[in-house]
């Protein structure tokens, strides 16, 4: 009978802290008017998307709350599902300037971004990192599981016939099962 190993693939701790730090720090900045360098791009995007129903200071405050919540979620590793939803929503939002403020994000659309455009494009790394960190907690069933082809754990550490570990027949092969994660 095939025995599954515990799917204890821990989130990369350092990556989680790094994401939390950046989110929380940059989020806190937005509580202070004129302190965040992303203020213009962020507020103008929110205002454009809300058809200017929301004013700049409200937009900035909402973004600050959102980013701090995501940051705390990463740092304290709490409410992963909520953090995941907020994170994905925020990430989608960060890419919106490429569509709603095209003239301010491209030197020549769509393959020559300006500094702001590059700043936004790079968020794809964030997206991958957050996905990697959060998904194991959000969808545990889709976590990569290490499955041994051998019968028991003992078979790994104690070869029955004293054969060397290099014997391919006795060394269990590990394979990833049922996942879509970049591990």
């Amino acid at each position: 009978m095939e025995k599954k190993q515990t799917p204890n693939v821990a989130s990369p701790t350092f990556l989680r802290y790094a994401l939390g730090l950046v989110y929380f720090h940059f989020g806190i900045l937005k509580f202070f008017p004129d302190l965040s360098p992303a203020e213009m791009l962020a507020t103008q995007t929110v205002m454009s998307m809300t058809q200017h129903w929301m004013d700049a200071s409200t937009a900035l405050w909402c973004l600050a709350v959102l980013e701090c919540a995501i940051g705390l979620g990463f740092i304290f590793n709490v409410l992963p599902r909520v953090t995941f939803v907020l994170f994905i929503g925020h990430m989608i939002g960060t890419f919106m300037p490429l569509f709603v403020l095209t003239e301010f994000t491209f030197k020549f659309a769509p393959f020559a971004p300006n500094v702001e455009g590059q700043y936004i494009f790079k968020n794809i790394v964030f997206l991958a990192a957050g996905w990697t960190v959060l998904l194991p907690n959000v969808f545990p069933r889709r976590v990569p599981r290490l499955v041994s082809t051998a019968n028991t754990d003992e078979s790994i550490s104690k070869p029955a016939n004293g054969a060397p570990m290099t014997d391919k027949r006795k060394v269990p092969s590990l394979r990833l099962q049922g996942h879509s994660l970049p591990v």
Binding site: Y17, L21, F24, H25, I28, L29, F32, P33, D34, L35, E39, M40, T43, Q44, M47, Q51, H52, D55, A56, S57, L72, I75, F76, T102, E103, F104, F106, K107
Partner: protein
């Protein structure tokens, strides 16, 4: 690591960030790079009397260099003022205002800009667009429809432009004069009389004031916005980013008649034409002095401005020769174009300013709503370069009009006369035989209960002072400060009223002053005042 140690470290990390950012903000605000002025905290600090014993001790310990002395003198002056007259240094009510949004040229600005404050990153402009010109065109092609739709909705929420004329009343050239008041009352108030019975603080607390300022619809660009009638005749002034927000019926006539103080016998010397570079010689040769002719030519000669010019830094699809004085002051009057007063920075702090008429400038000791310009020569000189921004000069060229030229512009300016007022005698009082009862009652009110004459006196009905009406008593907003009294002679020809046009009709103007001066005029009295002003 034990779990609780990990949690403590996480908490410490969060707390450190919060404290660090907070500290940075305190250090950053008020510096040259910050748009947050140090007004609130600075004034509070300055207004706090120092403990004499502490001051002495500090004074003994510190070295008496000039920097310390300068700081001490300033603080001492403030603290003395604060103790003797605390109201004179009332701290800025920062909490009620919002910081100007961070944006760049072309981006939409709030319609209620009076609720914002802040400083600019620089006093100097730049001729550089934030994008390529093709992108600039495309950006405004996309933004303009939504912007104008929102502008129309906003103006419709402020005013009821029903376009109802006052029966039998016309401007000097024959255009009907609109009836008012058209400013919309809040739903909780049924009449202007009910509103006038409330105190300023009640009106402010309940946000009921119908005459809040008007902002430029796109203040990140701002500049001149010409009426539709003008743009139809001068398509080179069609803006790519926005159009006029007032209906033409509430603006002065186009083209307006032109009266000369040196040729009153001719009446409208233009015979209904717009004076241009092409026809001015034909119209005025033999009527004006050579100096006046040259001055008129200069008033008609376009010169590049911040946004109407030959560079990419423009708001017209094609390069523009610029704007002439008479493009806004058509025929020496006004076509109702508006701009921002060039008196302040950042641009978002500048007040929207309607084009005032040039008629009767010879009677004014002060020109310009905020700058208190004292001569027509100086007026011509500074108006040529409307935004007064040397940052633009390398791109569009320096000021061309030298003093000898502006003198001549002043010569022409000084013969632009008011329209006829047949019901007034030489002392500017109504001739009883020509006036009706309502007009006579209005004159009585003008000099009495309504107190208009306190500022609107003399042959031009102007006192040549700037007055601070402190209208911010009625709404949450940044104080606008003193603004020049406008002459009332010929006032029926120059709607909308007040410096920013927030009063579209004379009726609105009377309602405005009834509220602001707390006059408690009756409905009949207000009608009488309007009837009187139509005679001026």
């Amino acid at each position: 690591m034990k779990p609780y140690m990990s949690k403590i470290l996480q908490l410490l990390l969060v707390v450190a960030i919060v404290i660090g950012v907070n500290w940075s903000y305190d250090q950053y605000r008020g510096t040259g790079l910050s748009r947050v002025p140090q007004i609130g905290a600075g004034r509070l600090e300055a207004a706090t009397p120092e403990d004499p014993s502490t001051s002495e001790t500090e004074g003994d310990e510190s070295s008496p260099n000039s920097e310390n002395l300068r700081t001490e003198v300033t603080r001492k002056d403030y603290s003395v003022g604060a103790v003797e007259n605390p109201g004179s240094v009332a701290p800025f009510i920062e909490d009620e205002l919002m910081l100007y949004p961070t944006l760049t040229k072309g981006m939409r600005t709030p319609f209620d800009l009076w609720r914002y404050y802040g400083r600019g990153v620089s006093s100097f402009g730049s001729p550089i667009l934030p994008m390529r010109f093709e992108q600039w065109l495309e950006f405004h092609r996309k933004q303009k429809p939504d912007l104008m739709s929102d502008v129309e909705a906003y103006m419709a929420s402020r005013f009821d432009f029903s376009e109802t004329p006052i029966i039998g009343e016309f401007m000097s050239g024959g255009k009907p004069i609109m009836e008012g008041p058209v400013a919309r009352l809040p739903q909780s108030v049924s009449t202007y009389e009910e509103l006038a019975s409330m105190s300023p603080s009640e009106i402010k607390e309940q946000d009921l004031f119908p005459y809040k300022p008007l902002a430029h619809p796109l203040q990140s660009v701002a500049h001149m916005v010409f009426p539709d009638e003008w743009v139809k005749a001068h398509p080179e002034h069609k803006r790519i980013d926005l159009d006029m927000d007032f209906p033409s019926s509430y603006l002065p006539e186009f083209p307006p008649p032109m009266f000369l103080s040196t040729h009153k016998e001719l009446g409208d010397v233009t015979n209904g034409r717009e004076v241009t570079l092409d026809n001015y010689y034909e119209i005025f040769d033999g009527l004006l002095t050579p100096e006046q002719m040259e001055g008129l030519k200069e008033l008609l000669r376009p010169s590049p401005t911040t946004w109407f010019n030959h560079t990419d830094h423009r708001i017209t699809e094609k390069p523009s020769k610029g704007v002439a004085c008479f493009d806004c002051h058509v025929n020496g009057h006004t076509n109702g174009a508006f701009e921002l007063g060039p008196d302040s920075r950042p641009n978002m702090a500048r007040l929207r300013t309607d084009t005032p008429t040039m008629r009767g400038n010879f009677n004014l000791m002060q020109l310009s709503s905020k700058r208190s310009i004292r001569s027509m020569d100086h007026f011509s000189e500074v108006e040529e370069y409307f935004d007064g921004d040397p940052g633009m000069q390398q791109a569009i060229g320096p000021r061309a009009a030298k003093r000898e030229v502006t003198n001549r512009m002043g010569d022409m300016n000084s013969i632009l006369d008011y329209p006829p007022a047949p019901k007034l005698n030489p002392l500017m009082r109504l001739i009883p035989e020509l006036a009706n009862e309502s007009e006579l009652r209005g004159e009585e009110l003008f000099h009495g209960k309504a107190q208009c004459v306190k500022c609107h006196s003399g042959p031009a009905f102007v006192d040549d002072y700037m007055h601070d009406l402190r209208v911010e008593r009625f709404y949450v907003g940044r104080p606008e400060g003193p603004i020049k009294t406008f002459p009332l002679r010929g006032i029926k020809d120059s709607p909308p009223y007040l410096h920013d046009g927030r009063c579209p009709t004379l009726h609105d103007t009377v309602e405005f002053f009834n509220l602001v001066l707390e006059l408690n005029l009756t409905s009949q009295e207000k009608d009488d005042l309007v009837a009187y002003m139509l005679c001026l």
